[in-house]
């Protein structure tokens, strides 16, 4: 097994930019074609604004996407990019990342792309811990196909395909990722540029698969889906900002907090009092087990989105698939020597025919 802590950081395998970069360097010459007012614009701006901070040679950055509104993202990044098929971006990116460790590979996907048609690839990328940064734009609706409910839509959603309300319970992408052995799981919101950038920074620094769920507003088919998290009046009470090492408190003046019920082990929200203040849970994103992160992911009410934690739920180190794969190649050369084609073809059981 790799000693993750002793090995050089995986980002160091990606060549650095020769000159200082600006946001402009990451804008392609293509006209952005999302609907006016779409949350995707904000995410694009945040990513383009963040990239110079990484200081990587932009020719060594690749954005791979699936199908859906958000999956047009690569066309607007002046890096290498591939707009692939519906749901398959994690698989395609896996092939690229595992064969080219000198690349910084990003996946852009949506709730339908990643969790419906591509669910299998997402969970397997996460369990393998391939060095991918996955940005999951969750708008809780199918936009490109004009407004059907998605696997993250709340139960009872009235859409074109569900005039009497949707029947299926939604996925919670953070819970799903944690259950799939993800080593990095975070959630952020399209409109909070600062928070979004902080989460991107943490994701880029993570070695292995980073899943970032971005709540993104579709102003055409599901407008206001996250309003409760954005509206100043409501957000104070609705949003729980997770910060590693800090007590998990929210609400006006932090009057609410998260404690663990020692009887059941469940997390619950309480009004903070001098008596219970010492029991407020301190967020530990690097904890060995995923249990608390999972419990945090369950705090939000899927219908109202009250008590929605945002920030990094979990960020732990585990051997990275790409590294292990490369090491096996090295080990094979160490053990058997560099492959010799003539020897391989001849094998051990031959006979000779002379003229």
């Amino acid at each position: 097994m790799t000693e993750v802590t002793d090995a050089p950081h995986l980002l160091s395998l990606v060549p650095k930019a020769e000159a200082k970069q600006s946001m402009k360097d990451f804008k392609s010459d293509q006209e952005v074609r999302w609907c006016p007012g779409c949350g995707d614009y904000a995410v694009l701006a945040a990513v383009q604004g963040f990239m110079p901070e990484l200081g990587l040679a932009k020719e060594n950055i690749v954005f791979v996407s699936g199908i859906g509104c958000s999956s047009r993202f690569p066309y607007y990044m002046n890096t290498y990019g591939m707009h692939s098929t519906h749901g398959r971006a994690p698989a395609i990116a896996t092939g690229l990342a595992t064969s080219r460790r000198d690349l910084s590979v990003w996946v852009v996907t949506g709730d339908g792309d990643a969790l419906s048609i591509g669910g299998n690839h997402l969970i397997h990328a996460l369990r393998r811990n391939v060095n991918l940064k996955i940005l999951l734009f969750n708008n809780r609706i199918y936009g490109l196909t004009k407004g059907q409910y998605s696997p993250t839509s709340e139960v009872g959603k009235i859409t074109k395909s569900t005039p009497m309300g949707s029947l299926d319970a939604p996925f919670n992408p953070v819970s799903l990722a944690l259950g799939a052995e993800a080593t990095f799981v975070a959630r952020t919101v399209d409109s909070d540029r600062k928070h979004l950038t902080e989460v991107l920074r943490a994701a880029a620094d993570h070695q292995g698969t980073a899943l970032v769920e971005i709540y993104q507003n579709c102003n055409i088919f599901n407008d206001g889906a996250f309003e409760v998290l954005k509206d100043n009046a409501q957000a104070q009470e609705a949003v729980i900002r997770l910060e590693h090492g800090q007590p998990i408190r929210f609400g006006t003046d932090g009057h609410k907090g998260v404690v663990r019920d020692h009887g059941t082990g469940e997390l619950e929200v309480v009004d903070v009092t001098p008596e219970n203040e010492s029991r407020i849970l301190v967020h530990d994103a690097h904890g060995a087990g995923p249990t608390t992160a999972f419990a945090l992911s369950r705090l939000a009410d899927p219908h109202t989105l009250h008590q929605t934690p945002i920030g990094v739920f979990r960020s732990v180190e585990r051997p990275v698939y790409d590294t292990l794969m490369a090491e096996q190649l090295d080990q094979a050369v160490d053990a058997k020597g560099k492959g010799d084609l003539s020897t391989l073809l001849a094998g051990s059981d031959t006979w000779t025919v002379v003229g």
Binding site: E59, M82, H83, S84, W351
Partner: protein, 647 residues
């Protein structure tokens, strides 16, 4: 070369499937008679758990190292261990070996080894009268016989009167031979296949050293089991040498004259294909990346390639078929030789990604080891019924070149050829092998590495287009005027950052384009690129100026060629041609077809190639088809061709 008494057909050119020629040459050792044969077909048959495939493999190895020409046909059920002693659980291995050039595993066995009543019952219909049958009498007790519906013992009821029966208590003799090894009866019984192998090795004068080495290596961690197997193997040999029942042994001289000078080894189709992929990667100087999901009968390629990581080979066992090809395509985008291996059902799942590869115009190999279909079909049996799936099985106009190997050893060259096309034309390519080629084996002349083709590619390294304002830019869809291939610009190349996708692209720039005229142009251009791939002209073998042409593709080469030899030996002229390239067809194919009054197309499907050539060349091709999961038999094909010729 021994002079032999044989049929006229064999005297002419060693046709297959006819009476075995033999010559009596009494010799001294053990006082037993030795006869010389020019060829033999042996079939080992037993229960799935009896180790028949291993026994066949070992006999094949001995035969290969002895220098005979050979061809094999493993035949086993899809179940790993079907209920013991039942007909569905029978596993067999047929081997044809000769002192001359042969093409098929043979139509009918001269010798059947039946390890139990089920094996006898399942195989007896294929055994011609007069053939030898070695029967493990220990298994012919009431219950095992009742299980397969023998009411009376075929050993006693006279039903085997037409055959030359050797009743041998194989199990008892094996247990007896191993009594000093301290094994349980059950453990000792498991070596009975080695006893049978020893006996057959004596009968046909096979070298034994290889098998003994093999057993010691295979059971290196259990030396007592290794020695028990060696002892059982030797006991079988000695039994043949001493017992009265086996009065005759046979010699089949090495096929020295059939082989050009060189060093040879025995090789199966899947192994040759794996080596072809590694070789292509070496010759192209690109790392090999295999994305694959296990599926019969393709998994052995995944197994094989995963052993060769010291060649820089990356093997990725994906979560499903779609991810397998996805990863291979992702690696191809990054500059690797991307390969995915599968069988028919897997191709169905990969179709959308193959379409994406067509649209992206990236090199990619899709290896389809065809098996019986539709759906799960016959996983362990052979068929050629994926041709139209490979040709047309995608949405939109998505042409993909198709290359098909003709023999197990030819899988090596076909893989290199497929890689050449993929790399030169920046396109996904189908390599259509099948279960018969995959598991069958034959001698292979090991190529000199210095003679292998150079497959090196040039990645794009700088701008390729000057705009009106003088700016130098990179256009990912600006094509090579000769090949129509687009540049392969891999990530990490400064200045060539570009985006590609499955949406229609503007010619040249590669930007998204919904322009009707551009789409029409791009569809036609992608088609023209595939149509323009350079493939060698079709060779026609027609020494007698025949009026009927038999046209085949893929693994039917062996049986068709054997049938053609038979016809010619009987002075019936027939022309033969065999396609390696199914898309595009060789440029002279239309002209070749028109030269003949009749064109017969034998296929292991319901006439897929026939459909293609009828549509393209308006030729009234006559289809002859078989979809029973088994290769054609030469004798039956010869009959059909003769009827067609005389019709």
């Amino acid at each position: 070369m021994t002079s032999q008494v044989s049929s006229p057909a064999e005297q002419a050119d060693g046709a297959e499937g006819a009476v075995v020629g033999e010559q009596r040459t009494p010799r001294a050792p053990g006082g037993k008679e030795v006869r010389r044969l020019d060829r033999v077909i042996i079939r080992f048959a037993g229960d799935s758990g009896d180790g028949m495939q291993l026994t066949g493999d070992r006999f094949t190895s001995e035969t290969a190292s002895f220098g005979n020409d050979l061809s094999t046909l493993p035949n086993f059920p899809a179940e790993i261990r079907a209920p013991a002693g039942t007909l569905p659980g029978v596993s067999s291995f047929q081997l044809h070996f000769a002192d001359h050039d042969i093409l098929t595993p043979g139509d009918a066995p001269n010798v059947l080894v039946a390890m139990n009543p089920a094996a006898l019952k399942a195989n007896i219909a294929d055994v011609p009268r007069g053939a030898e049958i070695i029967i493990n009498t220990d298994e012919f007790t009431k219950r095992p016989m009742a299980k397969v519906g023998y009411e009376t013992s075929p050993l006693e009821d006279g039903s085997l009167g037409a055959y030359n029966i050797h009743p041998v208590p194989l199990t008892t003799l094996t247990v007896e031979a191993l009594k000093d090894f301290g094994l349980s009866r059950k453990e000792a019984e498991r070596s009975k296949n080695m006893f049978a192998l020893g006996l057959l090795s004596w009968m046909y004068h096979r070298p034994t050293e290889g098998t003994e080495n093999f057993l010691r290596q295979k059971f290196a961690k259990k030396p007592d089991i290794a020695e028990a197997n060696v002892a059982a193997f030797r006991a079988g040999w000695n039994f043949g040498e001493t017992t009265e029942d086996f009065a005759v042994s046979y010699e089949v001289a090495p096929a020295t004259r059939a082989f050009p000078t060189g060093t040879y080894r025995n090789i199966s189709g899947n192994l040759a294909l794996s080596y072809g992929l590694i070789t292509a990667s070496r010759q192209a100087d690109l790392p090999l990346y295999l994305g694959s999901y296990p599926i019969t009968p393709a998994s052995d390629i995944l197994h094989e390639l995963s052993k060769h990581k010291n060649f820089g080979v990356r093997t990725f066992q994906a979560e499903d078929e779609i991810a397998g090809i996805g990863a291979a395509l992702g690696a191809a985008f990054g500059g690797a030789l991307g390969v995915t291996t599968t069988s028919g059902p897997g191709v169905a799942l990969k179709s959308e990604t193959i379409g994406l590869a067509v649209s992206l115009e990236l090199p990619l190999l899709i290896v389809d080891i065809q098996r019986g279909g539709p759906s799960t079909g016959l996983p362990t049996k052979t068929e050629q019924a994926d041709l139209l799936q490979a040709m047309y099985g995608r949405n939109g106009e998505a042409p993909v070149p198709i290359v098909a190997p003709r023999t197990p050893a030819d899988c090596f060259d076909a893989a290199i050829d497929a890689a050449r096309i993929a790399l030169t034309y920046r396109t996904p390519v189908f390599l259509l092998s099948d279960g018969y080629l995959a598991n069958g084996s034959e001698p292979w002349r090991i190529p000199d590495v210095a003679d292998l083709p150079d497959l090196k590619v040039q990645f794009a390294s700088g701008p390729n287009q000057r705009l009106a304002d003088g700016t130098e830019v990179f256009w990912p869809f600006k094509r090579d005027p000769q090949t129509l291939a687009r540049p392969w610009a891999v990530p990490g190349t400064p200045g060539l950052e570009h985006r590609i996708g499955g949406i229609e692209k503007q010619d040249g720039t590669g930007n998204i384009s919904y322009d009707p005229a551009n789409h029409d142009f791009m569809v036609r251009t992608r088609q023209a690129k595939i149509d323009g791939i350079r493939v060698p002209d079709l060779d026609v073998d027609d020494p007698d100026g025949a009026r009927t042409l038999v046209l085949g593709w893929g693994s039917t080469y062996g049986p068709i060629t054997a049938a053609v030899r038979r016809l010619r030996a009987a002075a019936t002229p027939v022309a033969q041609a065999h396609l390696r390239h199914l898309n595009p067809f060789p440029r002279n194919l239309g002209e070749v077809l028109k030269r003949y009054d009749k064109v017969v197309v034998p296929e292991m499907n319901l006439g897929q190639l026939a459909t293609l050539i009828r549509a393209k060349y308006l030729v009234d091709a006559q289809s002859y088809t078989q979809v029973n999961g088994m290769p054609f038999k030469a004798e039956q094909l010869a009959k059909v061709l003769e009827e067609a010729i005389n019709d």
